[in-house]
């Protein structure tokens, strides 16, 4: 399938070039985000009736994992409100182009942190506390506020969006899975970039800012670190930036060679499986252990969690792909072949999310009318009874997602294996085993 340049359409092109539509969405998102923080702090502590829990962990999560990431890649990052206050502070403006020297430190992020290990750690930190985080409104508020202030703080110290690029716990996996999405931002003509003086898409100009994601669009080959902020469309003097509709998983044809990205795959795979067991499984002891943060059983749970992610899953994978004689270094093969786990992991999350989103979606109506649990009934839906939705299609949909993910991963494994001059069979068997476990956990 050929790529379709969406911004050839004048309406789309104008909508992306203008700052106003994006600003309007940003303001709505920021208002929603701040309200979620406030609701968690002053609203009912009953999670299922508090806006912060219902709209963040049910509504937003459903949109993110079932729609935004699979179909729009980093589409969420394009409208995420978290970096806004920091970015506005950093620029000293909301709309006005940069015409003065930076007001803040504007440091470059140290090289040792220019990877996604910090994002891996921040995600794991949240994951280990997830049972409490997902059910306790004030904890959710504290985490949301902490992310907002961390983004502001980092914007005053470092250049560009340091929080989004290197620390955001969500941004890491969105970037990983955005490689599968049928949307990309790329240049049209490489030569135009080569000849372009000053590289305003990266360095900024009088019409716009340099890439907030610290990416030179001319070198983009995959979606992972492009936040779709559309700034380069505004700054490119050669009209050389295209937003393309493309086949799914196009980026996976170019396997990664980075260990931080490889481990991100294992973290996401393992977390989805552990969540399925803890949050959806019938094991009360496991739920108690995950919920009672700080107790002995929680430390055991955390230890097992980390052991599965950093030991069992990569260990079994390594055993499968280990070969004494291969021209390509083991580390490189490990990273490259782990690319095959990206579609599998994403579909694990889709299958897992389908279950709890459909089970809890009716709370959205309740929280919409009474977001703080104060007895309001703004849209006459406050008394909607809890009712699991689409239960008859849940199991088939989950099975379809998991089996589809397995097939997708098998195809990706074949391509990655060809690049590594090795067999794809161990990776396919590995994916098959994990899919079987996930099917058992969910069905």
């Amino acid at each position: 399938m050929a790529k379709i340049e969406l911004n050839r359409n004048p309406f789309i092109e104008n909508a992306l070039k203008s700052r106003y539509p994006q600003l309007a969405v940003f303001i709505v998102m920021l208002v929603g985000y701040i309200f979620a923080i406030l609701a968690g702090l002053i609203g009912t502590p009953v999670g299922s009736h508090n806006f912060s829990i219902v709209f963040v962990w049910i509504a937003w999560w459903a949109v993110l994992i079932l729609v935004a990431v699979p179909f729009f890649g980093r589409g969420w990052c394009a409208v995420c409100p978290i970096p806004l206050p920091g970015e506005w502070l950093q620029r000293g403006a909301m709309l006005a182009p940069p015409n003065k020297r930076p007001k803040w430190l504007n440091l470059r992020v140290p090289k040792m942190f220019r990877n996604i290990w910090l994002q891996n750690i921040s995600f794991l930190l949240l994951a280990l506390f997830s049972s409490v985080l997902l059910t306790t409104p004030n904890i959710t508020s504290i985490v949301l506020a902490a992310m907002l202030f961390a983004a502001i703080g980092l914007s005053t110290i470092f250049e560009r969006r340091a929080f989004c690029r290197y620390l955001c716990p969500v941004g890491g996996f969105i970037g990983l899975y955005s490689q599968t999405a049928p949307i990309e931002l790329r240049i049209r003509d490489k030569q135009a970039c080569v000849k372009c003086e000053g590289k305003p898409c990266y360095n900024g100009s009088e019409v716009g800012y340099g890439c907030p994601w610290d990416v030179f669009p001319g070198g983009l080959t995959k979606n992972t670190y492009c936040g779709l902020c559309m700034e380069c469309i505004r700054t490119c003097p050669h009209d050389n930036i295209a937003v393309n509709l493309r086949p799914f998983s196009a980026d996976l044809a170019k396997p990664t060679t980075r260990m931080d990205e490889a481990f991100k795959s294992f973290i996401m795979l393992g977390s989805a499986m552990i969540y399925a067991g803890v949050l959806l499984g019938p094991w009360g002891m496991l739920k108690d252990a995950a919920y009672n943060v700080g107790s002995n059983s929680w430390f055991v749970y955390a230890g097992v969690f980390l052991a599965i992610i950093f030991g069992v899953l990569p260990g079994l994978f390594s055993l499968g792909i280990y070969q004494r004689q291969n021209n390509i270094a083991f580390k490189q093969r490990f990273a490259s072949l782990s690319t095959a786990l990206i579609p599998l992991g994403m579909m694990f999350w889709v299958a897992f999310s389908l279950s709890f989103v459909l089970t809890n979606a009716s709370y959205i109506l309740t929280a919409l009318s009474d977001p703080l649990g104060l007895g309001w009934n703004l849209f006459s839906t406050a008394n909607t009874a809890w009712q699991p939705m689409l239960t008859s299609i849940l199991a088939p949909a989950q099975t379809l997602a998991l089996v589809g993910g397995l097939i997708w991963s098998a195809r990706t494994a074949q391509k990655a294996a060809n690049e590594s001059w090795t067999s794809s069979m161990p990776v396919i068997v590995y994916c098959f085993l994990l899919t079987s476990v996930m099917l058992w956990l969910l069905l």
């Binding site: 701040i34 406030l38 009912t44 502590p45 009953v46 508090n50 909301m94 649990g373």
Partner: protein, 325 residues
């Protein structure tokens, strides 16, 4: 500064101030009574001010599990207080005074500690001094041992007792019933030619004749709602909280003098014939009114009306006598 930039800043500022200020304002103007399990704070606030003759509108919500709300000694249906939902209720107090509101659901081991007060002010001059309860008038030591020394072998038969009482012209006035234990009446018949079994049958009949089916039904309902959690559905002291009460007895601050007193944490067994047949209704009234003084048995004087207590006591004897419950 360009107009667009200025306008953007203005819109964002207004939006942020609005999204913080509006909910905060509305929140501060919506007083809600929060219910939490006693271990987590019980009712907040637990003291409410009201005025006699003026309706009191309350909004109630639960922050954890399902609770219930009722005001003691008031003719009202208990309302459910659900997690995350707000229940509206309007109360009318005719007389000033201090009323007790309480949780009506078995929400946890310390459920009975979930109480608060409504201080109703007013200048009602119809107030009459309360007369002392019967157990006080009778000067009963309700903590003294009172076990019956003789108990029936089986459950006495009311129907047999009725015919025996008729034949022997035996009756018991209501005042005598309130002040006598079943054993005392049984003992009072010792000079008759009746067998022990027949005497117990007569006692059973006399106790039944001092109550009504309605009173028993009311007592049964009150027992199920308020007592069965600890004392058990069948009165055997084996309610759902009984084991937990015993387990926590050792750590309880209420138990000051060692393991022996800790036994008091075990809910009373109403099927224990010696204990129940040796207790007068007045003595049971005292125990219910005052509570167990550190044993975990709450005081119900501020919750139940006098009539409710007598109905409840009539029902408690049904664990001994074979009359309709």
């Amino acid at each position: 500064m360009k107009r667009a930039e200025l306008l953007s800043r203005l819109i964002v500022t207004v939006a942020v101030v609005g999204v913080v200020g509006t909910p905060l304002y509305l929140w501060s103007r919506t007083p809600i009574i929060h219910a939490r399990m006693a271990e987590n704070g019980g009712w907040t606030p637990d003291v409410i001010q009201a005025e006699a003759g003026k309706p009191l509108h309350l909004k109630l919500t639960s922050d954890d599990v399902m609770h219930g709300f009722a005001v003691g000694q008031m003719d009202m249906e208990a309302v459910s207080v659900e997690p995350g939902k707000v229940t509206d209720i309007t109360l009318n107090f005719e007389k000033p005074g201090i009323y007790t509101f309480y949780c009506t659901r078995w929400c946890g081991l310390n459920h009975w500690r979930m109480r608060g007060t409504i201080e109703v002010s007013g200048s009602n001059t119809d107030l009459k001094p309360a007369s002392p309860p019967l157990y006080v008038s009778l000067n009963l030591d309700i903590d003294a041992p009172h076990d019956a020394t003789v108990v029936p072998n089986g459950q006495p038969s009311v129907s047999n007792g009725q015919s025996l009482a008729m034949d022997n012209s035996i009756s018991l006035s209501h005042e005598e019933y309130l002040a006598s234990s079943p054993f005392e009446v049984f003992d009072g018949l010792k000079n008759s030619s009746l067998t022990e079994e027949e005497r117990w049958d007569i006692v059973a009949y006399l106790w039944q004749s001092n109550t009504t089916p309605d009173a028993l039904a009311n007592g049964k309902q009150l027992y199920a709602q308020n007592c069965a959690a600890c004392h058990g559905e069948n009165g055997a002291g084996d309610g759902v909280f009984a084991d937990d009460l015993a387990a926590t007895g050792e750590a309880s601050m209420q138990t000051m003098s060692g393991a022996e007193n800790m036994m008091m944490q075990t809910p009373v067994d109403f099927t224990d014939s010696a204990r129940m047949l040796g207790a007068t209704p007045a003595l049971l009234q005292g125990k219910i009114l005052r509570g167990g003084m550190g044993t975990g048995m709450p005081m119900w004087g501020s919750i139940f009306t006098e009539g409710q207590i007598w109905d409840l006591i009539a029902y408690l004897y049904s664990f001994q006598f074979e009359y309709p419950k």
